[in-house]
Amino acid sequence: MKNMGTRLINYQYNQRDNIGKFFHLLFALVAREIKGQYRRSFLGPAWALLQPLFYMVIFTFIRGVLKISSEGIPYVLFTYSALVPWTFFSNAITRCGPSVLQNAGIVKKMDLPRLVFPTAAVSISLFDLLMSGIILIGMMFWFHVPITWAILWLPVLILLIAFLALGIGMLIAAVGTYKRDIVFATPFLMQFWLLATPIMYPLSSVPVRWQKIYTANPMVGIIEGFRGVLIKGSAPDLNLLAVSIIGIGVIWIIAWPLFRVMSQYFADVL
């Protein structure tokens, strides 16, 4: 582009300092949010638990009517074990959208790596995941589900969700800071996506002719993997996970440069 303005910073500084500062700010933002939530509401962190439980109850009713299979696992466990990671994913993305808008004051004041805001959004949802994970563990004990080595896959799966959520979150934050429509639409989109993911029903219930398109959904591999690892004690299907990883890659290739460019001008519209 001709005639672009440039701002050059020309002095000795330590790159590692910058990384340290990024994480310091990240922790500070997450702490702020969590403390604020605890103090402001009566139920506080309990809200993190209620959301997947609520869906579980609804799905259990629907299941009775529609006769959905749960592959021999008690339905409550079947669906809750998928809802916990899903809630993490869905909340992370929903929080990313307005994350920059909510921090308008800081963005307009200092030159900060703006990626910290969607990253904090995902991190806060991660904290909620840990909270609702406690109930999940309780449920597993209740149903006498054995813990196997497959559990070691959990951090990997959680990390995959985090990256996928951050990629999409960056996209929504980048566009949404300028035009809020996409931020408002996010909850609706997440509802659709929930129905397109094997949470309420197992993957095996999906008609064969739809399977190819269906498994292009990057969350399929991860959710089935989560359930498999926790309840069935089996390692996740690597083919499906490969699809997830490719999906994450594609999204980041688009979202990362887009966010980098568009985030520079955030202060102009906040």
Binding site: T6, Y11, L25
Partner: protein
Amino acid sequence: MSDDVIIQVEGLWKRYGLPLLPAVRDLVSRLSKNRRSIANNGGPWALRDVSFEVKRGETLGIIGRNGAGKSTLLKILAGVTPPTRGQIEVRGRVFPMIELNAGIHPELTGRENVRLLGAIMGLSRQEVEEKMPEIEEFTELEEWFDQPVRKYSSGMLARLGFAVAMNVDADILLVDEVLAVGDITFQRKCLDRMEQLQNSEITILFVSHSIRQVERVCGRALLLEKGQPLALGEAADVASRYYADSSCKIIEQRTSDGESHEIVQMQLEDALVDILSVRLLNKDGQVSSEFYTGSSLTIEVDYEAHQPVSDVFAGFGIATIDSFYISGFTSELESNGLDLKGKGTFRCTIKDLPLLSGIYMVHLKLKNVWGSCVGGGFGVKTFSVIVPKDIRRSNDYGLVRLNVEWS
């Protein structure tokens, strides 16, 4: 670029908004109902062709009216928004002292918010913990420091933000009217801190509406008007230029209603004398609104007395444009009372105007022997004063110049 220059700005232009490619811009503007969306071919230029250099350790003032582009310039230097055109080179750490309380959460305590602000302002966790006792002491918040911040007054919040900001190490400080909040003691602390910083090698860019503060604190100043640089040079020179431009506008504003409204008549039950017009004359007897320190200023008043009034004394008051009363004087001691009948004119001359640069207004009051007011008006005339170059002394600060003799 020479070694002692720490900021160099060349040909800076800034327009707010996302610079979409022309095709996308067209598409978006067609889709969106709002014609003035971000897709519009830009908008007004916030800054036009600004160029200047700042040397290490210097304090540069940036002045201008509202909308002149001062905050925009600071934001670009801070790296908050990119320049549209031009080159900026910054050779040091920049710390923008703008909106010091941004990011504060009302449910967190003062201490917790200090940690948060520390993270935002770029301090490391260690630095914040080390300096916490100092910060706590500076805020003077005592037991409030561990109370949720939603209980704080705005003055307390200001102290919190400033206390953290004071501890940030930076080579360049961008100060944007931050000193305008808080009570007297707090402002004193801020000014003290500023002066302390000036004595070090730290470079300061100071944006303020208070021209007096800028003249006092800064060596050079940059005057912006509608995004364009109007003047750059010694603070006193630039301030005079600002006054000259502003006074024209203020005087225009005050007379734009027309002669009849120009004089704000006092509300009196029995205004026996109407003030018809007031003129200010310079040393050559010409009507003017611009005067020089040390020259003479004559106030000429046309009046109309509805009934004959005897033994009337006239009193004038001179105040700054922000209503700071400088001096009032009456004719009581000098001459006998005036006998007013019908229409007439009287004059008063200030022989050796001691006022320094600024914009001032004249108040007028007519009183009879018993002290009751028979007529007058507030702010009947506005004028500006400029210190002429030949008598300018570098240590003249304040409102008036005093005639002194050293021995």
